[in-house]
């Protein structure tokens, strides 16, 4: 079975796919709690499918771009499970997951935008079922378009992206189907940060040793 999850948005989404179809799904009830919710979500889909960890034959993970802290929870979980279970791990650009859902909904030429915070969005362009540009991190005003834009990033900036369609957040069920069908490029499980780290030194009370 393929275990798939994405943590590149404020939400956690998990799915289990048996090669034919998605057999169990989990969506976090709270946002910005990746560290707390991903592992119970994985345990939940396994339990609901009546499966054990050793039934997992591959792991798929959204590699972002997305807020770093949550993104790393997904990636370290995927890499560590793949090591412990001795199974392959596939990375997929998280914007491609939204794009796959948009294509299933009938769109062909469109952009995908997710929230990059700091008044910016992560953006990629799609045509004829594949990614032709991006992902990049940009200011909405600099990427303003009347083209159809999919994703929560479009909803946040209606002045720049007036034509919004399709799903708001990526779904692990779509991720699982996308990987099984190899609809988009499968990547190594490496994070797409797209930004350099802020070089702010930790202030003392937080550093413990």
């Amino acid at each position: 079975m393929l275990l798939a999850f994405d943590t590149a948005t404020p939400h956690v989404t998990v799915a289990l796919h048996d090669g034919q179809r998605v057999v169990a799904q989990y969506a976090s009830s709270e946002s910005m709690r990746h560290g707390e919710m991903l592992a119970p979500g994985i345990a939940d889909v396994l339990a609901r499918a009546g499966a054990n960890s050793w039934d997992i034959t591959a792991v798929a993970v959204g590699v972002g771009p997305g807020p770093f802290t949550g993104l790393r929870v997904g990636l370290v979980t995927a890499r560590t499970m793949a090591l412990a279970l001795d199974v392959p791990v596939y990375g997929v650009c998280s914007l491609d997951i939204l794009a796959a859902a948009a294509i299933d909904a009938g769109l062909t030429d469109f952009k995908v935008a997710t929230d990059a915070r700091r008044k910016e969005v992560y953006l990629a362009s799609y045509a004829e079922g594949r990614r032709i540009d991006g992902p990049v991190v940009v200011k909405p005003a600099e990427a303003a378009t009347t083209e159809t834009v999919v994703g929560h990033g479009a909803l946040l900036y209606p002045d720049s992206f007036p034509n919004v369609a399709g799903p708001e957040h990526p779904s692990a069920a779509v991720l699982a189907e996308l990987v099984v069908a190899e609809r988009f490029e499968l990547l190594d499980p490496d994070p797409l940060y797209l930004r350099r780290p802020d070089a702010v030194v930790a202030h003392a009370p937080k550093k413990v040793s």
Binding site: A39, T69, R72, Y193, V201, A202, K206, K207, V208, S209
Partner: protein
């Protein structure tokens, strides 16, 4: 021999700051202690950059797990329990280790123990010097913490007697090293340079040691005033056009720190009626601190335990050591929704 092999095999993960540590123990026997450090990436900033540390933890996690298993000669599937630092520490850094530990617990179907980093610094000594005496007085001194703890049971009962009210001891070492043009982290360089200096040539202040301070802060520390005093002394020297006697400044500064640390630790032990003092954390690697602590303790009939330097700094072995003790004492494992708690109090040993 059969008793030894029947003891649980515990893997511990530590990511609270800039070291990615994976340790493996069987009972009190250390089998592997793999550490990957991002310290060099932080050096040019003069301190730890949280985002840089978190990125490094993600990259180091799988290679460090693999190295620890290879060193211990085991497969991950052999592990009986997983322990991980749940706090305190840098939030984003802790989260990488906690998520990796949960991934192992789910994959292997084994219990997870989210433990306190400070208690782990205490528990690690069991790997070197055997079971901890109950109670013991622990002094943890590092780049982020300076605490005096009463440890009645390292898996369930740790009481804070005192702590720093401003800078941590290790932080003072870093800042003074910078002032003297020595590299980061400053502790080992001050220790080395101080050996050629005269510790009594300059009289630097001993923080929170006056009679009035002792009334309110008997077991607390303060190193901020000392750091400022060193800075003023060096500036005055430079202003007068005279060369700065780096070795003397380093020695006198170090003496001021270890004088206060050892005096307060021994006072706390005597006050609590405890005969065993354990020193841990990165600053415990300081040679002068070890020497003075042993001298002063033996003069009072007390015993001092200090793990070897490699076990004093942050590592996975200490987390595995505490996890092993959790298993041995039948503590209840953590739930899969275990949070990383950046300000986890020391009284909270297991999450």
């Amino acid at each position: 021999m059969s008793r030894v092999t029947s003891e649980p095999l515990v893997l511990g993960i530590e990511t609270s700051c800039d070291e990615t540590g994976v340790g493996i123990v069987r009972g009190h026997t250390l089998l592997a202690d793999a550490v990957a450090s991002s310290v060099e990436e932080h050096a040019r900033f003069g301190g730890v950059v949280p985002e840089v540390a978190s990125r490094a933890h993600l990259e180091a996690m799988v290679p460090t797990l693999e190295r620890a298993c290879a060193d211990a000669g085991i497969a991950l599937g052999d592990v009986d329990a997983i322990a991980v630092t749940a706090g305190p520490g840098l939030a984003g850094a802790l989260l990488v280790g906690v998520a990796a530990a949960k991934a192992l617990a789910i994959s292997l179907g084994k219990p997870l123990y989210g433990v306190n980093h400070l208690a782990a610094h205490v528990a690690v000594d069991q790997l070197e010097h055997g079971p901890l005496p109950d109670p013991c007085l622990a002094m943890l001194v590092s780049g982020g913490h300076s605490s005096l703890l009463r440890v009645d049971d390292v898996t369930s009962s740790v009481t804070a007697l005192g702590a720093t009210i401003d800078d941590a001891a290790g932080e003072a070492f870093d800042k003074v090293a910078r002032l003297l043009g020595l590299p980061f982290p400053g502790g080992p360089h001050i220790d080395r340079v101080a050996r050629g200096g005269n510790a009594v040539s300059i009289d630097f202040p001993r923080g929170l040691s006056s009679r009035r301070d002792l009334e309110r802060h008997r077991f607390d520390f303060s190193f901020s005033g000392l750091k400022t005093a060193v800075a003023r002394w060096v500036e005055a020297r430079e202003a007068s056009g005279e060369p700065v006697p780096v070795a003397d400044v380093a020695a006198a500064f170090q003496e001021a720190v270890v004088d206060v640390l050892t005096r307060k630790a021994i006072d706390a032990a005597v006050d609590q009626g405890i005969e065993d003092i354990l020193i841990g954390g990165g600053v415990a690697a300081n040679s002068r601190l070890r020497l003075l602590a042993e001298e002063r303790a033996s003069a009072r009939g007390l015993r001092v335990r200090v793990p070897r330097p490699g076990l004093c700094t942050d590592n996975g072995a200490m987390v595995a050591a505490l996890g092993s003790e959790m298993v041995a004492r039948g503590r209840v494992p953590s739930a899969l929704d275990l949070p990383a708690d950046s300000s986890m109090p020391v009284t909270h040993v297991l999450s």
